[in-house]
Amino acid sequence: MSKSNTLGFGLGLRSEYYQQILEQRPEVDWFEIISENYMVGGGKALYFLDAIKEQYPLVMHGVSLSIGGPHEIDADYLRQLKTLADRVQPCWVADHLCWSRGSAHHLHDLLPLPFTQESLLHVASRVRLVQDVLQRPLVLENVSAYVQWKTSCMSESQFLAELSSLTGCEILLDVNNVYVSSRNQGFDPWQFIMELPHGRIRQIHLAGHSDYGHYLIDTHDQPIADPVWTLYSKTLSYLGATATLIERDDHFPPFDELLAELSKARSISANALRAAAPCA
């Protein structure tokens, strides 16, 4: 996979900012949409989606695929996802390495999987099915976790590496999620990142979390925390330029504050890449 054509620096597209984006044409390289928000018949969301896609590259990011769930992959969901992808023509389509639906109903959370050979084979067969329908590699994101399964015999990053090798799927590295999980579960975030196959990382996510002292919760309602910026900088020094996106899902600040955070990401990235460049 070549990452030479990185998209640059993007923001999560949220309805709170639709009007401003169209009126002000802010300096954002691309936007990421929550796929499910646009799997509707019509109305405001699709109107702005169509208008914004004329101006900016888009990426699709889903939350309901439930790639590790115990149920069959929802054929209706997949059909709607493909229809949306045909409409949006996104640069790539992502979801999470998790399960969000049980055998009886939808749980609407990004639940962690046991990282076992059984899970690996289960998820790999479903990734292949999804990729066959979408006709493109699926990009999967590491999630924030608050517990681990005792049966896990590998780390999440090792699991992602194996999964990518088996299926050709790509990786969305959420640096905030790595940090949140590492604090909650007491592992080394840097080891996690080093265990990933760097050539398969398509995109990076940055977001804020809430700090409850002993543990962290991935809330996406705060500015990005300093330790996450530090981890991001160090990560880029190994990965090189990588498409980076800032997510904000609650306590929406004025748009200029998000643009300022995006500028900070640009600046940290430039410094990290400069420092990592070989001496002339």
Binding site: G41, G43, P70, R101, G102, Y146, V147, K150, G186, Y215
Partner: protein, 259 residues
């Protein structure tokens, strides 16, 4: 324990209201020094309810305001327990709430509350109903005589037609405005109310019975001429003018599309 059994154990724990962690689940879970397993599981348990409750508050803001936070939360949690999410999108979570109220709340609150929840859900349905090309005044202005004779229309897909038995609209308006909420009053005759989307914005309005009958006739496939004939009894020779005025209004409001 197999993967599916592990997932079933966690699903059962999250979806039941009981916060006591079953032994067979606890045996599978590992925590850390900073976040013990029980606390980690509790984060998921609480988040499940908080997330669904928040969606219902957003989809039924006036019902929430009308009932108060505590009563609404009680209703919502009972609903979530009876009707756990069945759709991949949280947008559909509240679909069965009006129906659930029928079996959960006793009269005299039951009927007005069902009506209220149905009205609010109508806005959710109208908000993202399929797009369409409504009949426009511009198109009408180019109608030939034959076009008028052959004109047959549907209501546009976003239109929801409610028949209200109570002063539900007044209560809804007050709740949305965070003003004093009037007492429930039963109406002597049902009131027709439309909720729909026009140019991306949700709209609502009530109809007096004559207009409601005329719109029903036309949108059921009747011709403009038959609508005029139907109005003669009440409006006499003014019937065609009355019909034309209403038709112009309905078209201006984006309520109609051609069959």
């Amino acid at each position: 324990m197999r993967l599916s059994a592990q997932q079933e154990a966690l699903e059962r724990y999250l979806a039941t209201g009981d916060s006591v962690i079953p032994h067979e689940l606890m045996e599978q879970i590992q925590g850390s020094n900073t976040l013990p397993a029980a606390d980690g599981l509790m984060i998921y348990h609480n988040a499940y309810r908080a997330r669904l409750l928040s969606v219902l508050r957003e989809d039924f803001p006036a019902l929430h305001r009308w009932m108060g936070d505590e009563s609404f939360a009680q209703l919502a949690l009972a609903y979530i327990s009876a009707w756990p999410p069945r759709h991949f999108s949280l947008r559909w979570l509240g679909e069965r709430l009006p129906e659930f109220i029928r079996g959960y709340i006793a009269e005299p609150q039951r009927s007005p509350m069902i009506e209220f929840a149905t009205l609010e859900w109508a806005f959710t349905l109208a908000f993202d109903a399929p797009d369409t090309e409504p009949l426009s005044l511009d198109v009408m202005s180019r109608f030939s005589a034959d076009d008028w004779v052959n004109l047959r229309v549907y209501l546009t897909p976003s239109v929801r037609w409610l028949q209200l038995q109570h002063n539900t609209v007044g209560i809804w308006v007050a709740a949305k405005a965070e003003a004093d909420i009037p007492d429930v009053v039963a109406l002597s005759t049902p009131l027709d109310c439309l909720v729909w989307r026009h140019e991306l914005v949700c709209q609502y309005r009530t109809l007096e019975s004559g207009e409601a009958s005329a719109l029903r006739l036309l949108s059921d496939g009747g011709s403009f001429a038959s609508m005029c004939e139907n109005l003669v009894g009440q409006h006499g020779e003014q019937a065609p003018l009355r019909a034309a005025t209403w038709l112009k209004q309905w078209i201006g409001e984006g309520l109609l599309q051609r069959r």
